[in-house]
């Protein structure tokens, strides 16, 4: 087991890869009462077309299957796994993103039993026709709830503008029509391809002894037989490299009080792999903080002009095979918002607003927020499990932040910010609404 000390952070991370390929990360937090474990597969909603293990042709499965599979893994012949965790006094949950599916529990006692339950239920699928059909009603409700959520519609509306082909444009849960097509055979096909140990990682953080915990995990895995590891082969549709297939602007109507608008920038540049990828994402994050955070000149000006308020937010999403940035707000002045933000972005490509003083202040803030986030075991584990930068991880962020200079931000701005990569999605109040 490798031991990584981060003295500035006051943390020690233990890391190893088991014989079957499963990556295990352990972070003891002796002052905490709780233990949190998250078991993640590198499989999400965008992995719709792939070569199933043992077959030679690509197949495309119904949209929403990764999320459907997540729901169904909890059901076993003997009953619901939530009940087993309940008996052990633990809280369990799971979530599916564009590129990952994670299963987790948090508990304050009987950690070994809880860990074994987590590993066993995820590694022992049990799908039947009756239970698959019942699930369709439950997930249908979930999809409908998201249909009523204006912020979700705004986010997906923008993504659909930006991505003409890429499956990131499809709702993670699929549609009522697509999930209706899911069969037991589909679920096993996806499961066998993507739930191989070498495509997965386990992160355990909290009141644990690393040696004992690793011994439990190793013993549990040694009891099980897995087929020879086969790296999953995925296929994605091609998109226009120059951004010519991006829809520049689209507006819909919904029952909202004020217009909602989101401006997106699709990443047309290539993201480096490994540590350089994490440096790239951190630079993008710093760039947006420098330009738009609540101590920026742009924020003050737009706030004073009544163009934005504290509904304003921005995010950088960088995952396997896609990356983009989005800036959103609820405002009566959506056109002015878009113009003003575009102007700031354009100017940033010439270095405007990217000063040493601003970068130093923003770094200080980001570093402080980083330490604060380490109070949350869930944050540490979920961030770590969700990223894919080789051996680099969030634990390296203080060092990476220190290395990034103003010239790096300028370069990142030049390669990422392009007028032809921008798109706007807007939701206007429905006139007939209350």
């Amino acid at each position: 087991m490798e031991q990584h000390n981060y003295p500035k952070l006051g943390e020690t991370l233990y890391r190893t890869t088991l014989a079957n390929g499963l990556q295990v990360n352990l972070l003891p937090k002796p002052d905490y009462h709780k233990t949190y474990a998250v078991f993640t597969t590198n499989y999400g909603s965008i992995d719709r077309t792939f070569q199933p293990i043992g077959q030679s042709e690509m197949v495309t499965l119904p949209d929403g299957i990764a999320h459907f599979l997540e729901h169904k893994l909890f059901e076993k012949k003997a009953g619901d796994i939530f009940e087993v965790f309940g008996k052990l006094g633990a809280n369990a949950n799971a979530f599916t993103s564009f590129t990952r599916t994670s299963y987790l529990f948090s508990a304050t006692s009987r950690i070994r039993e809880n860990l074994e339950t987590l590993l066993d239920f995820v590694q022992d699928p049990y799908f039947t026709e009756a239970s698959v059909n019942k699930e369709k009603g439950i997930i249908g409700q979930e999809i409908q709830m998201y249909d009523d959520d204006p912020n979700w519609r705004l986010f997906f509306g923008l993504i659909q503008n930006m991505y003409a082909q890429h499956p990131v444009r499809i709702d993670i849960a699929g549609t009522v029509a697509s999930i209706a097509q899911i069969t037991v055979a589909d679920l096993y096909l996806a499961y066998r391809t993507f739930y191989q140990p070498q495509n997965m990682n386990l992160f355990v953080v909290g009141h644990i002894d690393p040696d004992a915990t690793l011994a439990w995990i190793t013993a549990n895995q040694a009891q099980k037989d897995f087929p020879t590891p086969t790296p999953p082969q995925r296929q994605l549709p091609q998109e226009a490299a120059d951004g010519s297939d991006i829809v520049a602007h689209r507006t819909i109507e919904m029952a909202v009080q004020r217009p909602k608008v989101m401006l997106g920038i699709k990443g047309l540049d290539k993201v480096p792999t490994g540590r350089a990828g994490l440096v790239y994402r951190t630079s993008l994050n710093l760039l947006f903080e420098v330009l738009f955070n609540d101590s920026s000149a742009a924020y003050l000006k737009l706030y004073d002009q009544g163009i934005l308020d504290d509904t304003f937010g921005y995010e950088v999403d960088l995952e396997r095979s896609f990356h983009f940035a989005g800036l959103s707000v609820d405002t009566q002045k959506p056109d002015q918002f878009v113009q003003a933000i575009q102007a700031v972005l354009q100017q940033a490509t010439t270095g405007a607003g990217l000063t040493e003083a601003r970068l130093a202040l923003v770094k200080r803030e980001m570093l402080g927020k980083f330490w604060q986030s380490f109070n949350s075991l869930e944050y540490i584990a979920n961030q770590y499990a969700g990223d894919d930068f080789g051996t680099a991880s969030l634990f390296d962020l203080p060092e990476i932040m220190a290395q990034i200079q103003v010239t790096d931000l300028q370069q990142v701005a030049q390669r990422f910010i392009r007028l032809e990569a921008m798109s706007v999605f807007q939701i206007n109040p429905k006139v007939a609404a209350r």
């Binding site: 006051g10 709780k34 409700q141 409908q144 609540d294 803030e365 330490w371 604060q372 380490f374």
Partner: protein, 440 residues
Amino acid sequence: MKQIQLNHSDNVKGVLFLEQELKQGVHLTVQPSNQFKTTRIVVNFLAPLQQETVTKRSLLASLLETNTKDYPTQTALAAKLSQLYGASFGASVSRRGQLHCFSVSLTLVNDRYLPADDAVLKAGLAFLKQVLFRPNATEAGFDETTFQREKQNLAAYFADIADNKQAYASLALQQLYFAADPAQAQPSFGNAADLAPLTAKQLWDYYQQMMATDQVEIVMLGQVDPTVIAQTLQNFPFTDRATTTVSPFYQQSLWATPKVKQEKQAVVQGKLNLAYQQPVTYHDADFVPMMVTNALFGGSALSLLFANVREKASLAYYASSRLDTFRGTLLVQTGIEPKNYQAVLDIIQAQLTALQQQNFELERLAKIKATLINDFVTGLDSMGYLMNQALMQRLLPTRTLALDDLTQQIQAVTPAQIATQAAHLKLQAIYFLTSEEGNA
């Protein structure tokens, strides 16, 4: 300065509370701890809940967190917080039964992680003093530009609630159930009608009243020297004031028949919310049995509501219940297809009947108890939970419950006790938000 044992966690770690009366009615509680990477201080201003002050307090929270005399723009204030290594700062309001709480909170990175000349604790407390005692105002009132903009933003916030259907439905149920008491019926963060006529001068007057008369409870948690903290806070210019005599507990009289309201909007998913009255108050003799009853009814993912309405019958996306032991309620909320209204109502009633007749699996009860105990122990890892416990102990010093006692009491709850508690639940209000074409 006196030292007392912290009741709820004394058996966990022997954590100490250090307490000091800074002025009459102004009290400091410090809990030294190395567990977290941060130090947090919360200054709570407590007053009796009154219809006419709630909206003022809510707008005041917006103003105090926007700027100050020393940091007169929100960007100057934000830059100060960045300088303090991304200190988290905010002002907010909340309701605890018949009390209204105005809280200013500051979270700082522990100095042990920072270069020696970059220490933020001292600078952070100086900043907090500026926020509280040097607001951006003159004798004529709060800075007019700031005032108008924050007023407008709060009005927009009130209007935006209509877009969040789950929140909208819970507020509508509250309005329906507490129809006879405007102070309880309105949101804890105020309402548009009371906001509209407010002026910068009126709010300035109210700020002075609050600063002079509200009971102040300061709670601090983190790696600090309590003596140094007490000395620093002694320099905050608080004056003597009375401690509030109002009990936090509120109980309204029963409606003869449940109040029913249905509203149609352009939604796909309906929201069906129910209010039950219940007689139990925080940490009284029936508190633990009622808490277990709620967890079994709808208060956890292992509850009867979750199992039957969502999982077994696929009737709802979510179905849960929540207990408020300060306002005497147990509230159920569900998200359903509009056509399932009656079926869901029936199935909720059936779960309550099952509780009253002790018609549930003992195994389920055992799991609910284990999960509840886990939740309480988990609370010891949360700054927010620990600091709220410290505040509750100040407000209700006789209603303490050590974690060991709590754990034992949870384990000891019997099916018969649950039936008794379930029989106390009286359905009082049904609110249904449905689609334009939906019917009930």
